[in-house]
Symmetry: C2
Subunit: 178 residues, 2 copies
């Protein structure tokens, strides 16, 4: 996809609706990707994101050791990739090969961007105080990439056990909230 740099001040608007993400890491030259949707914005700018990566996940050790990752936002067209990455572990499978995922080098971190995702957020881990208790990491988004052609991304929103809500229409309301 043809992407452009996206302002960090607007990143919250991509994550706040709660889409399923693909989180990429890279450690010792080996990249991995996992499906993740336990995340929240914590601050606008610089954009801080809190997320849970389970200690059972292969990505946990890479994230903890390298303190870098990319949050990639897929749309419904790539649901086979999303579900596949959630069903298998990177311990035994190269998910990029298995699911035909195209890695693209990031600008500021070792973890790759996923080309098929309409948005990619390069992140550094900035706070690990709640990792031991909850597997909760605080990330700072340091660079964002977006496909400007994707105006109404049909993101996936996990409801549990194979059920996913697909993003519907966007409406405009008289809100003064940022």
């Amino acid at each position: 996809m043809a992407k452009r740099s996206y302002p960090l001040s607007r990143v919250y608007g991509l994550l706040e609706p709660g889409p399923v993400l693909l989180l990429t890491t890279s450690r010792r030259g080996k990249a991995n990707v996992m499906t993740m949707s336990w995340h929240t914005m914590i601050d606008f700018e610089p954009p801080l994101v809190g997320c849970v990566v389970s200690g059972n996940d292969f990505s946990f050790a890479a994230l903890k050791a390298t303190r870098q990752c990319v949050l990639n936002i897929p749309t419904v067209e790539w649901s086979a990739m999303v579900v596949g990455c959630g069903n298998v572990t990177g311990r035994s499978v190269d998910k990029f090969k298995k699911f035909g995922i195209t890695p693209v080098p990031a600008a500021l971190v070792e973890a790759p961007l996923i080309d098929e995702c309409y948005a990619n957020l390069e992140c550094r881990v900035v706070d690990t105080r709640l990792v031991n208790r909850y597997n909760f990491f605080v990330l700072e988004v340091v660079k964002a990439h977006l496909d400007p052609a994707c105006k109404q991304p049909r993101t996936l929103h996990h409801q549990g056990w194979g059920n996913f809500m697909v993003a519907g229409e966007t409406i405009k309301l008289p809100s003064r909230m940022r």
Copy 2:
């Protein structure tokens, strides 16, 4: 609305898709409600939820002092209530009166349930370690109520500056993730 008790083990499926919430508190007999969508699941059972309530919000002091709240999930029919509660402060306005919100006593906490919302989650604050730095509270959901007639809730998902994505269709994918 006619609601039933909802299993705590299934609460994550209501919050994980990322809906806008109405957070109610009550302090010294005075209830308040605020619009909030910076939240994430942290654990399945007991259900733990992390959320950001800004120090500028009137609800912040009540949440910190009482360590209790209710997370109410509105649908698009109640968007005027959602936007109204986000645009004004409880310091000077009784939002229940102003926006015609119906408070219902909760079972285990002082904060009221919002009758108009299809789901209500009674919560206690269980961790305040990240409050000073990020206004980030960890809540435990101690009781859940749901309107079983609401099968496909058209929840709101905030994209910033008055733009809200409305929940679309639910699809079933061959996922083995809980």
